[in-house]
Symmetry: C2
Subunit: 328 residues, 2 copies
């Protein structure tokens, strides 16, 4: 019988395994224009933490006791939609389960590119687009500029590092622990800050004595303060995520916010969905960079649907290099 | 003998009268191209607090024991510059003193407009331009939008209120105390929050149940947090000043910063000097609004050079309605 992860209770602060329950799902009969998909890969992403709270946000909250949602890739195993026959590989948002029944219109066929399927949940999917549009369109980073990116070993951050290098920028990343820092450096970062080894504000001031032009923010908190202190004139900050505060509900204390005035900083929050007009450029650039070896893929894969909560919780303890995935 | 206020000691936190000393200045002989100006009005402004610290910022720090600087308007009483004869009224940056000796190139003749001289230190000078360019160019506020402005009884804020109304916007201001709130309302504000009477976050949520499109920030702190919580999709924040933190050096605690992501907020710091390309539009609009009664002038004037520190300190206790000036 198909199974799905449901939200059993809403976490306060950091979630635990107890917040999740794996529940049998009676197999539904297909209606017209519906498809049945055997999921192969599930995505777990930091933004999902926000959906576990019962508050209005840019995505609606998960309902208690219902299957959770999230990016997934799978293969159509039954179809009542003529243009999506059995065998079609699709991407959709009914993750956290091994089998999904949905309208064909809610699924996208995978682009025909020479890329492994699971990459469409990572560098060739939402995290990759977030990196590409955030860096190039939101922050308007240009060749010759200095970019600071937090969570540089994560799915988005590690792609930001590589796109920035491909575009001729100087890149400073931050990551937690020597192993991840080494990996970020191997991706081409000019310098890497180990935020677990000391104060990130001082470390960035040392790593970027002439300041930064762009900050790609995945975490908020001290990293944002470090970027404010280090910012050059007319610096641009793209605010992608604030993983530091998803679990806390604590105020963020910023000592250097007033620097935005004198340095004329622009801080922009963004969501990847607003930038789809340029998706063809994204595929063209990323495809080329993968082909010529500029872009390295990395996924951290947990095997088995049972492991989905572990994979998700691992995002907040830094268990992943690159994109965190669950193989069903 | 001419006298000038010098910075005797650098304040920690809120400045006091003890930080200032009024010192006799031997009258200098003019060199070629220099002028001697009898100052009539001196400007005191919140940004001067920053210059009292010995730290690099967008304006250099005041030197200990030297006459301080600031906007001033006066009349040329001696001249060795052919194009700036005795009797010319000029504006310059050698305030905090009764008599200034400077190069003619450091002084600007007052524009020939039907406006009292002292207005060129207020609505027709730097504070007015800050309001105009910040609201219309930095925040790109448009007719029909809802604008929130803090320190709405101050020189900049009260002008923002009036420009926003002249341009067809809905305006919510904040000010401290019933008297000032009444005055801001008399300027045309649709609603006014008395930040001394309660929590500004709750008050703004109530005053703007449908949210705000623009926040003109003069104070930072709780007001900024209130604006973040209330922001509509694609809101723009123009960060003009953060008077709340000039005196504190404390971190700002923001609970709602992550709202910039979902609401795609743009936060921009700015300095008025970057926007001078549009100064002709500024004079044209402001002149017209003054003439037709749309724009009301208000200055709080302290009489006598001796009172300059009191006037300055009054900026931080809310002693002014409109522009704070010293009449020499």
């Amino acid at each position: 019988m198909p199974r799905a992860w449901t939200l059993k209770s809403r976490p306060k602060g950091m979630p635990t395994a107890d917040n999740f329950a794996l529940v049998d799902q009676p197999s539904a009969t297909l209606e017209d224009n519906q498809i049945r998909v055997a999921n192969r890969f599930l995505s777990v992403d930091p933004y999902m933490r926000g959906r576990m709270n019962d508050v209005k946000s840019y995505v609606p909250p998960f309902a208690l006791g219902e299957p959770m949602q999230g990016g997934a890739i799978g293969e159509v195993i039954e179809s009542r939609a003529a243009d999506v026959p059995v065998g079609t590989k699709v991407q959709h948002m009914m993750g956290w389960r091994d089998e999904a029944v949905l309208s064909a219109s809610q699924a996208q066929k995978l682009p025909s590119m020479d890329v492994p399927d699971e990459a469409f949940l990572g560098q060739f999917g939402m995290p990759g687009m977030t990196a590409y549009f955030g860096l190039l369109d939101v922050a308007e980073a240009k060749a010759g500029e200095t970019v600071f990116v937090s969570a540089a070993a994560g799915a988005v951050g590690s792609t930001v590092v590589q796109i920035a290098k491909a575009k001729g920028m100087t890149v400073i990343g931050s990551a937690g622990g020597a192993d991840k820092c080494d990996w970020v450096k191997s991706l081409g970062a000019d310098d890497v800050i180990d935020y677990k080894a000391g104060d990130v504000v001082q470390a960035l001031a040392k790593a970027a004595p002439d300041g930064i032009d762009v900050y790609f923010d995945n975490v908020g908190g001290d990293h944002l303060d470090a970027a404010l202190l280090a910012c050059r004139m007319h610096a641009r900050f793209a605010i992608c995520g604030m993983i530091d505060i998803y679990n806390e509900g604590q105020p963020q204390a910023l000592k250097y916010l007033a620097k935005v005035i004198g340095a004329r900083v622009t801080i922009k929050g963004f969501l990847v969905g607003d930038h789809m007009a340029r998706v063809a450029d994204f595929y063209a650039d990323m495809g080329q960079w993968l082909k010529d070896g500029t872009l390295k893929r990395e996924e951290t894969i947990f095997d088995g649907l049972e492991k989905a909560p572990d994979a998700f919780l691992g995002l907040f303890t830094g268990a992943n290099k690159g994109k965190m995935l669950v193989r069903v």
